[in-house]
Structures are given as C-alpha cells and as structure tokens.
C-alpha cells in the first residue's frame, strides 16, 4: 500500500503492524533525545485546507521526530475555485519533491482524489476528509485501547502482558454522539471491527446515517442502556458541533432540540461514569465541549485517557510516516501490506 486513506483498506495484519511500530516509536519518545534520524532527507508536506492546529502539530511533531523536513501549506482562504486549487496545489507540491503529503480537506474523498488523479507521486496520508475518514485518529484510539485494555487479567486486574502483536478481540467499545458527520466514528468502526472489537454506536436517530445497517457494529439510541447492558471497556465521546442544534441557523433541519436535551440523553457525566466497570476508559478525540457531550467530572476523571490520546497520536503518526516513507519507494511500499 502506498497511501493511508481509509481504515477500511487496512487488514488486521496491517493494523497490528502499525500499532506495533507505534509502540516502538512511543518507547523512543520517553528518552531525553527524542529525535531519530530515520527519515533524514525526506520531505513531508502538511496540506491543510481546513483549520486543525492539533492534528497539524501532531503530524509536524511526528515528522520532525523522524528528522524529515516539514513544509506546512495552509491552503485555507485561497480565492481560486476549490477544484483548481487542489490540482494546482498538488502539482506545485509534486514540483517541490514532496515524499509524503498529509492532507486535511473539507471534501470527503479529496485525499483519495489526490492519491489517484495522477497529480502527484507522493505517498498520501489522510488527516481527515469531510465526513469520510480520519484513519490516524482511529489508529491512535486503537493504540490507546490496546495499551490500557489488552493483556489485562480477569476481573479488571492491571495489565500483565505485552500487547505487541495482539488485536482488540473481545473488547466492547461504545462510540457516542454525532455519528452522521463524524469521520472519527467511521474510521473507528472499520478499524475496531478489523481488530476484533465489538462496537456499539450510540446516537440520537437524527445523527445516524441512512445505510448504517451495513456497518459492522450495533446501533443504539439509548446511552444508559448501552452502559448498563454492554459494560463497555471503552467509551468514546464524539464532539458535537454546535451548528447542528436548533437556533443555530439550521432551522427545521436541526438534529436535536437544544444542548440541555442532548446532554441529558447523550452526555457522559458523573452518574453515567458510575455505571461503568472500574477498568473502563473514557476517550474523546478533542477538542471537547465540556458540559455538552462530556462533563468536567468525566473529562478529568482518572479513567479519562484523553491527554494520553494526544501523545499516542504522535507515536502513531511516526509509525505511519515510517511505514510509508522509510522503505524503497521504487518497490511496492510493503510497510502497510
């Protein structure tokens, strides 16, 4: 595989290889000298058509820790039409000799088009496209879950084994919130299923896409039921966009009546936290709306691994860049095969 565009493209072996590589990368990041010479001379372009300081910084850190040269290309605010802009920008990057392009774009499929339109030879990494995919987010989520939950003995004992080489078989994961617009949810459903976990999406019916019945997961409209009945090992709260609510200009097209009702039905608060098994971790891709989808009590509880997710993001992105760029570019990029 030459690109990382969607978690749906990853086999179980691919995914485990990325997680194992990320584990080695993470190990280097606790050293005093964090920088590795691995990608010296390679150029990574961060091509961001949408603001996302967190994701961009994470990729930038990952590339720099591997000694790649990093060019940040913020294409936001460009006045040319979107189509011309992507193609012309791609041709410019090609001319500058980018080895990898990390692209964030508001249009679903833009990374796919960049990878396959013949505009560039570079490896393309999807850093989030529209409502489609955000594969490195799902990988860092899986990495975080594996660290905390795999190798755990019976009855919630602390971790005993090394999770290297292992998948997430048997874990139960609840993903809660705006599934319809969420590339994080789509990426996680595929990846977690591939890794053997059982996923339940929890969302108001308005925020579940038509066609979800073919996804490899369960769907519920009732958070309390899911927490009580499935005893999830991890609860992932999705960010709710305020423009989805009534009174935000959406008019009758709003997806739920108001924040209070959303929080009452789908927010993770102290009461719901208490329903969970002791070992259950609380996750959020950030940035959080405290008081809306997650209360401060939940976000700051010892179960929350939200800050660790950020750190793991760097390791996972280092792994992805390593696997895409370190090998012989003229042969099949075996890294993710």
């Amino acid at each position: 595989m030459k690109h990382l565009l969607s978690t749906a493209d990853l086999s179980r072996a691919d995914a485990i290889r990325i997680l194992d590589t990320a584990a080695q990368m993470a190990a280097t990041q606790s050293r005093e000298i964090k920088k590795l010479p691995t990608l010296r001379g390679r150029t990574v372009v961060n091509l961001f058509f949408e603001d996302s300081t967190r994701t961009r910084i994470s990729f930038e850190t990952a590339a720099k820790r591997l000694s790649a040269d990093v060019i940040n290309f913020s294409a936001k605010g460009s006045s040319v039409s979107k189509g011309e802009s992507l193609k012309d920008t791609a041709l410019t990057l090609q001319a500058m000799g980018a080895d990898a392009v990390v692209i964030r774009h508001q249009a679903s499929g833009a990374p796919h088009t960049l990878a396959h339109a013949g505009w560039v030879d570079s490896a393309v990494v999807n850093a989030g496209d529209g409502m489609h995919q955000h594969p490195t987010q799902a990988l860092l989520d899986a990495f975080t879950m594996r660290r905390h939950l795999v190798g755990r003995g019976a009855a919630g004992a602390s971790i005993t084994g090394d999770p290297t080489g292992q998948d997430l078989a048997g874990l139960r994961i609840a993903i809660v919130g705006d599934v319809l617009h969420s590339r994080v949810a789509r990426s996680n459903v595929h990846l977690l299923h591939t890794l053997g976990a059982k996923v339940t999406l929890v969302s108001p019916p308005t925020l579940v896409p038509v066609g979800v019945e073919t996804w490899p997961c369960d769907v519920s409209y009732h958070l309390d039921e899911v927490l009580a009945e499935t005893a999830p090992d991890a609860v992932m709260m999705l960010r709710v966009q305020r423009e989805r609510m009534s009174g935000s200009g959406a008019g009758g097209g709003a997806f739920f009546p108001n924040p209070l009702e959303y929080t009452r039905n789908f927010g993770l608060d102290g009461r719901r936290l208490a329903l969970l098994p002791d070992h259950t971790i609380v996750m959020h891709p950030g940035p959080m709306n405290r008081g809306l989808e997650i209360s401060a009590e939940a976000a700051d509880s010892p179960r929350a691994v939200i800050v660790e997710q950020v750190a793991n993001g760097v390791a996972v992105r280092m792994a992805v860049l390593y696997l895409l760029l370190a090998g012989d570019a003229s042969t099949e990029r075996a890294g993710l095969e």
Binding site: L86, S108, T113, V210, G211
Partner: protein
C-alpha cells in the same frame, strides 16, 4: 425546401426497418418516397448506402439535452452538441433552458433555435424556463416563448426543481393554452441541501451528503396529483428510483396525463461507482442502487416510463478534474444512448427495435409536440413520411473513448466500456448528417 434540389436520392439497401425483414428504403426530396424489396435494381442517379445487417430506425429525438450555449461554450456549443447528437443517431434535440442567460425569454429561445437551424445537424427545439432565471419565484414569459419562431412547447427549470407548489400549479395550468408541457426536475430542495450522491449504504460509508430517493418521489407524487387536479399534462424528467416508477405506474392507472423519462446512465450504472470518488460519476439525479436500475428497466419495458432521454450534460475538464464535492453534476450521453439502450433492453430481450423507436423517437416527439407539420419528427418509416432515418449496426461493438467523441467535452461515464451497436448513418429530412459512422460536414449550407 432547398434540400430538395441539393440532396441526392439515397437508396438504403437491405436495411431492416425496426428490425423487421430487409427492404430498400428510398429517400428523396426530404421524404421517404419508396419502400422496395430488398436489393432491388438501382436507378441511375440514385446513391446507394449498403445497409446489409443494419437496423433502420426513425431519427432519434432527445427530450433532454444540455447544449450549454449561450454561456458555457467552453463545454459545448450548439454546433458541437448537435453534431454529437447526429453521430448518436438523433435528428432532433430539446435544448434545456439552464444557459447563461437563461432561456426564459423569446429572444434567447429564438437565438438557440436559429443557431441550431443554421448548423443543420439536427432540429433544435429550445426548452423554455418555467420561472424567471430558474429561480422558482415568477413565471417566465411562457406565452411569448410559445408564440416565438422557436414554438416552444416544453418548459422546464431543469437543474432546479419547480419547488413552490403554487408556482407549479400555475405553470401546469398556463401551458394548457398551447398544449405545452411542464417537464419537472423532481428534487425536493430542503431534503437535498448539499447533496452529493444517492443516500444509502455507499454515501454512509463515503461520508458524502445524501440525495434521498424520497426527495424525488415526494415531488413526483405531489406533481401527479396537481396535474390531475388541474387537468394538465406533466412530464417527469430523468426518473431514477424504484419508488418513482411505482408512483408513475399508479398515476397512469388513475388516468393522470403524465409521461416519464429515464436516462441511459440510470439504466445501467449504480452508486457503487462513487466509491473511487471519480467525479465523472457525479450526476443529478444521482446514480442509484442496483434495485433501482432493475426497477427503471422494468418500468421502461412495461411502458410505465415513456421515453429514454439523455440528459447529455457536457462539462469542461476543470469542472471534473477535481475533488468530488467541487465537481459539476452531469455526464455526456448523446453518443452512447442508443448503445446503452441496446445493451440493457434489446440484447437482454426486454424490448424490440420497435420499442426502441418508440422510446427514443416517436414518444419523445409526441411529448414535445414536434410530431406534426413539415419538420415532423418521430414519424413511422413509411412512404410519404419525412426522411429522418438512422441506420444502426447492432452487431458492432466498440470501446468508448471520450476524447474521440464529437461532443466538446470528455465526461463520459463509459470511458473504456465496451458497448454494443454503432450508428452508421443518420439522415435529416433526406440529407445525410452521418455516413460511415462519421459526421458529414456541411459545406456552404444552402439555407435561405
């Protein structure tokens, strides 16, 4: 009728009219003058076209073509689009109103009609806008367009839906005065805000905003009831869903005066093609599911759907060589329509060549009210009828190459596909516009 003095007498030798037993068709003076036994002796001065193995059909009539002129001559012109139509076997096209400026006045429709006439490839019948600027607020000058030299009978805001029910009612009523028809682009706008493709399994996975079937079906249901209430004629453009077929079937059963069209692409392509985000397959209405494809085939075979119309929608390369969301909706179709109908309906045994002549010629001509008078289209292949004839080689197979097509744009969804059938010759009132599969360039056209 200067053609009478400038065109040779053609003998289409050994052709099979509507796939029946071979005969020789003689075209002279713009009409079919004689039907002889196959391979009869040829008189002096007659030009023979070898029609062995070819099916003769009445010249095809497209009720739904985007010629892009005026305004987007970089994508297509009336000349390039009508040449492509002739290559595809057409002798008449209806040019949609969503040009710049919009065809909402007599002036614009007369200009389009005149350029088409002067080009001489096919008869160009402009479609008039229902509302001023296609904006859905005020009726356009429908009467003036009907009375103009272009004699407009089909009115459509195609590309946009006549959404306001009271405006739709008024339009349906207003066109009764001259036996016109409103051709509705059925798309409920609020249900399709930002829509990119069919809403379903594939859109859910690709994260593209969905265009639900109900947004089409709800408008069709409303409009057939409106048409019934006011006793008007309604035409439904590019119907694409199984539910739409059901509603039309129900409406016809009830005696409502409704006709419906399906495009070639909705007869053969599905939304699975969006998976690679190739904007070539971005079209409105969107490609639907395999079940919908089967339903529209069934509807066409049983007569629920009256016609096939191309919705030929040329776009420049820059409007398609980009990410999906930024790309324009539409695909070309004039030069592949007949092949797709052959592939899906004839070769599968669901329709005869006579049925093809109905859905691609006589029925669309009748809906557009261009089936009478000196420039009548969609007429039978009989003595005394206008010599609008297309010869098709049904045994031929070809691989579609967008860059080799006559249309000025390359956005064919069939690039690289092998399709059956090839248009060998097209005659417009006895004059060859296509011979040996290639357009016959007109030198110093002798129009008065």
């Amino acid at each position: 009728m200067s053609e009478q003095t400038t065109n040779p007498t053609y003998v289409l030798q050994g052709v099979a009219p509507l796939g029946a037993d071979p005969v020789d068709l003689v075209l002279a003076g713009g009409v079919i003058t004689e039907v002889r036994a196959a391979n009869s002796p040829v008189a002096d001065g007659e030009t023979v076209v070898d029609g062995t193995g070819l099916v003769a059909l009445p010249g095809l009539v497209d009720l739904h073509t985007h010629l892009r002129e005026p305004g987007r001559e970089d994508a297509e012109t009336i000349v390039s689009g009508t040449r492509a139509a002739a290559v595809g076997g057409f002798t008449a096209v209806h040019a949609m109103a969503n040009t710049t400026p919009v065809a909402d006045t007599a002036g614009v429709v007369e200009q389009v009609w005149r350029i088409g006439r002067d080009a001489g490839w096919v008869d160009v019948h402009p479609v008039g806008a229902v509302s001023v600027g296609l904006e859905g607020h005020h009726l356009a000058e429908i009467g003036a367009m009907a009375d103009s030299a272009a004699r407009v009978r089909v009115f459509s805001d195609d590309g946009k839906c006549v959404w306001d029910p009271i405006l739709m009612r008024r339009a349906l009523e207003y066109v009764k005065a001259f036996d016109g028809v409103v051709a509705q682009h059925a798309q409920e706008p609020r249900l399709t805000e930002g829509a990119q493709m069919n809403e379903g399994v594939v859109s859910a996975e690709l994260g593209l905003a969905g265009w639900p079937a109900v947004a089409e079906e709800a408008i069709i249901a409303r409009d057939v009831l409106l048409a019934e209430h006011v006793g008007s004629r309604l035409h439904v453009c590019h119907l694409s869903t199984a539910g739409s077929v059901e509603i039309i079937r129900w409406a016809k059963g009830r005696g409502i005066d409704v006709t419906a069209e399906v495009t070639p692409h909705h007869l053969i392509l599905t939304d699975e093609l969006a998976r690679d985000y190739d904007p070539t397959f971005k079209v409105n209405p969107p490609l639907r599911t395999a079940a919908d494809v089967e339903a529209v085939r069934q509807g066409l075979a049983d007569g629920t759907i009256d016609i096939v119309a191309t919705d030929h929608a040329p776009h420049t390369r820059e409007d398609k060589d980009c990410e999906w969301a930024a790309a324009a909706f539409g695909m070309t179709g004039l030069e592949t329509a007949l092949s797709v109908v052959q592939e899906t309906m004839v070769d599968s045994g669901r329709m005869s060549w006579a049925d093809v002549a109905r859905v691609l010629s006589s029925a669309p001509a009748r809906i557009g009210r261009i089936d009478e008078g000196p420039t009548a289209q969609g007429r039978p292949l009989e003595v005394g009828e206008p010599a609008n004839v297309v010869l098709v080689d049904p045994a031929a197979r070809r691989v579609v190459d967008g860059s080799a097509q006559a249309t000025a744009s390359t956005n064919t969804p069939f690039q690289g596909y092998e399709l059956p059938g090839r248009v060998v010759a097209t005659f417009l009132r006895g004059r060859a516009t296509v011979l040996a599969g290639a357009p016959v360039e007109q030198v110093a056209e002798v129009r008065a």
